[in-house]
């Protein structure tokens, strides 16, 4: 308790702000010169030395990047792509004219939007202090969320401690006797030594939250927020985005858990199931859900508002809490007895998806068991955004 309090106080001590260009260079180096990266940095964290530049070349350790920079208060957005040197002064002028013509309103809107979407952040260690930048994604593998949380927080604090951490602050001591003369000395302060206080970054200092609780049987996209990013995950959860899953199943047997790992409690034939029949059944299920979507709109079906909501573009999403709703069902792969569906839905959970496969098979007069569930999309975030365990050799410069 005492330790973390002390740490918090020390962290609040303000340091001189590094320049935006230094943060850019350090970030690219810290990420080992990726092909592509995009991040937000707060105006309040850096000194902006690239004001007015919109599209320009940036050289880091021999690699050339095309940078698209835009101010979107409270953030500055940097979009970097690794490309050979080109003359970008025309582009730069064009973007500047465009921004002025729009009075910067889209930029401000982008900034406010981004504050809701940001769910991940990273500290950039410049010689002039630490700056936090923010990201939009994270990933998951087949483990429970609590385990994932422990692993991530453990790794984050371990790796942050490996970096150059804050040195111990010296202590002021008054020595000598009152009768003679007292000497004021600056001494080494053992009370602030990492071996005494514990490592500078501790797991309990890191907050981690997720937008959606993934069951241990589900793998795939999982949006996590670190520290101030936890607010972002809350916003993501509130906004009721649509999730897509790849659900694989197998006809011919059923288990007590309705998942692959359970005890088999029934077997049946499945030769009569064809792609067409499966498709028809899926359509029926989907149509039923579309009808019921109206009930959960939170509006009177006879009213003008309901008419407008239905005739407007986009999906009809439930107004408040609703049971699971399916928006799209597609066959991705059909190879008896195995099949894979793509399910786009809202408010679902693992048990619901397992039941979906089970009920689908019953409608087809057979039995089936779910073999794999993979979340491939969560709102705007897809598998491509998710972080990978291994860096690719090009990124390492091998």
């Amino acid at each position: 308790m005492h330790v973390s309090q002390t740490l918090k106080i020390f962290r609040r001590i303000k340091e001189a702000k590094p320049t935006a260009s230094l943060v850019l260079t350090t970030h690219l180096r810290q990420r080992q010169l990726p092909h592509w990266t995009s991040y937000f940095v707060k105006y309040s964290d850096v000194t902006s030395d690239q004001r007015g530049l919109s599209h320009f070349n940036w050289k880091v350790d021999g690699a050339n990047y095309h940078i698209l920079r835009t101010g979107c208060w409270p953030y500055m957005k940097y979009h970097c792509t690794k490309r050979p040197y080109e003359d970008l002064s025309v582009d730069d002028k064009f973007f500047r004219v465009l921004k002025i013509a729009n009075l910067g309103i889209p930029c401000l809107a982008y900034g406010c939007g981004a504050s809701f979407l940001i769910s991940c952040q990273e500290d950039i260690y410049t010689p002039e202090g630490t700056v936090t930048i923010y990201f939009l994604y994270e990933e998951d593998r087949d483990m429970t969320m609590n385990h994932l949380r422990k692993v991530l927080i453990g790794n984050l604090s371990r790796d942050l401690n490996l970096l150059k951490t804050r040195p111990a602050t010296p202590m002021v001591a008054i020595e000598g006797s009152v009768t003679e003369n007292l000497v004021v000395k600056v001494k080494e302060n053992y009370a602030d030594h990492p071996l005494v206080l514990g490592p500078r970054y501790q797991p309990k200092d890191i907050k981690l939250a997720w937008a959606h609780q993934l069951d241990k049987n589900i793998s795939g996209v999982c949006i996590l927020g670190v520290n101030s990013g936890t607010k972002g995950t809350h916003k993501v959860r509130e906004s009721q985005l649509i999730r897509s899953y790849m659900v694989s199943g197998q006809f011919g047997r059923t288990t007590d858990t309705l998942f692959n790992d359970g005890k088999v409690i029934g077997k049946s034939t499945y030769k009569h199931v064809t792609r067409g029949r499966l498709m028809r059944t899926l359509m029926t299920i989907q149509a039923g859900h579309q009808r019921s979507a109206l009930h959960f709109l939170g509006l009177d079906p006879q009213s003008q508002e309901a008419y407008e909501a239905l005739s407007a573009d986009g999906l009809v999403r439930p107004g408040e809490k609703s049971p699971p709703l399916i928006y799209a069902l597609k066959i991705v792969d059909f190879n008896l007895p195995d099949f894979t569906l793509e399910v786009s839905c809202i408010n679902e959970n693992a048990v619901y998806l397992q039941h979906l496969v089970h009920d689908l098979a019953l409608r087809l007069k057979t039995t089936a068991v779910c073999t794999q569930m993979r979340c491939i999309r969560y709102g705007p975030w897809t598998l491509q955004h998710s972080l990978c365990g291994i860096l690719e050799p090009e990124a390492l410069g091998v």
């Binding site: 308790m1 990933e139 009152v178 009768t179 053992y190 009370a191 005494v196 365990g389 291994i390 050799p393």
Partner: protein, 306 residues
């Protein structure tokens, strides 16, 4: 103490007899949550930090803080530190050693000498003793009788000769002082649940004694996957015991990747043989280029489909 009592009873406004008395007045020491509050006053603790001891780990253990504060460097600790140095604990290792086992200062030097003499009597060389002590800081807390019982237990349970027990002990010094119930449980798992025979268990014990202090359920799961899913026989596992030590997800991911590439071929008689040892060795970069003969990019894409 008398001085303090006198201070309390004396009139506050009366002039001081001796101005030096002010020097003795200092802030009182209050109860605290951690040792950091005391360290600037305690030369002993400061010396420990200079040795590299992680005091923050000490204070997490119950009773250690109050025990350590009462010790004095000169009379309680110096002899023990000298003893450890003489027995071959490296000075740069001493901090880690004391972090793990601060209770060593409770033992008498004569007892510690007797324990070392016992090890010499059962023919451990001085290099081996240095390894036993520095790799397993808790070893010296065990009395000669207990260590003797435990060495005997390993000799009996796995049918080892005296030399072989020594080899096992030196290879994994933590094994001998480990919880015996856990050791017995693992032995049962190896013979009954996994189905290794007596000789195979003995060779596993000689090659990788570390398996016996591994987490039991996870070891069983790994064996189940290696034997039933990947089809590696008992004799192959005994030949490549390293694979049982590697992490479960690593084996699974790599095997599944090789399977999708059609390279999961662990039979040395056939072409395109992949040695089970090389499956778990090395970084993912090396695995992709040498074993899977593909790129890390493809491997990453594959991992996202699991």
């Amino acid at each position: 103490m008398n001085l303090l009592k006198e201070f309390e009873t004396r009139d506050v406004l009366a002039p001081l007899k001796d101005t030096h008395e002010i020097d003795l007045v200092s802030q009182e020491v209050r109860p605290t949550f951690n040792l950091a509050a005391y360290i600037n006053r305690s030369a002993t603790l400061q010396e420990m930090v200079r040795l590299g001891v992680d005091i923050s780990k000490w204070e997490k253990r119950k009773g250690i803080s109050s025990y350590i504060l009462k010790l004095d460097l000169e009379c309680d600790m110096k002899q023990h530190l000298m003893f450890l140095r003489d027995q071959g604990v490296k000075p740069e290792d001493l901090g880690r050693w004391l972090t793990i086992n601060p209770l060593i200062f409770r033992e008498k030097i004569e007892d510690l000498d007797a324990r070392i003499n016992y090890l010499k009597a059962v023919k451990f060389t001085s290099d081996e003793i240095a390894r036993l002590i520095s790799r397993n800081p808790h070893w010296l807390l065990f009395s000669t009788v207990r260590i003797d019982n435990r060495l005997g237990f390993f000799q009996r349970s796995c049918d080892l000769s005296r030399d072989e027990v020594r080899v096992v002990a030196v290879k994994e010094p933590r094994l001998i002082t480990h919880n015996l119930h856990h050791i017995k449980r693992t032995s049962i798992a190896v013979t009954e649940e996994m189905g290794f025979d007596k000789n195979e268990m003995k060779s596993l014990m000689l090659s990788t004694p570390k398996l016996w202090i591994a987490h039991g359920p996870s070891l069983l799961r790994k064996f189940d996957y290696l034997h039933n899913e990947m089809g590696l026989s008992h004799s192959v596992l005994v030949k490549f015991p390293k694979i049982l030590q590697s992490r479960e997800f690593r084996i699974k991911q790599r095997h599944q990747y090789l399977k999708t590439l059609g390279r999961a071929q662990y039979d040395p008689q056939k072409p395109n043989y992949v040695s089970p040892a090389s499956l778990v060795e090395g970084s993912d970069l090396k695995f992709c280029s040498d074993i899977a003969k593909s790129t890390v990019h493809d491997y990453n894409l594959f991992l996202k489909t699991l």
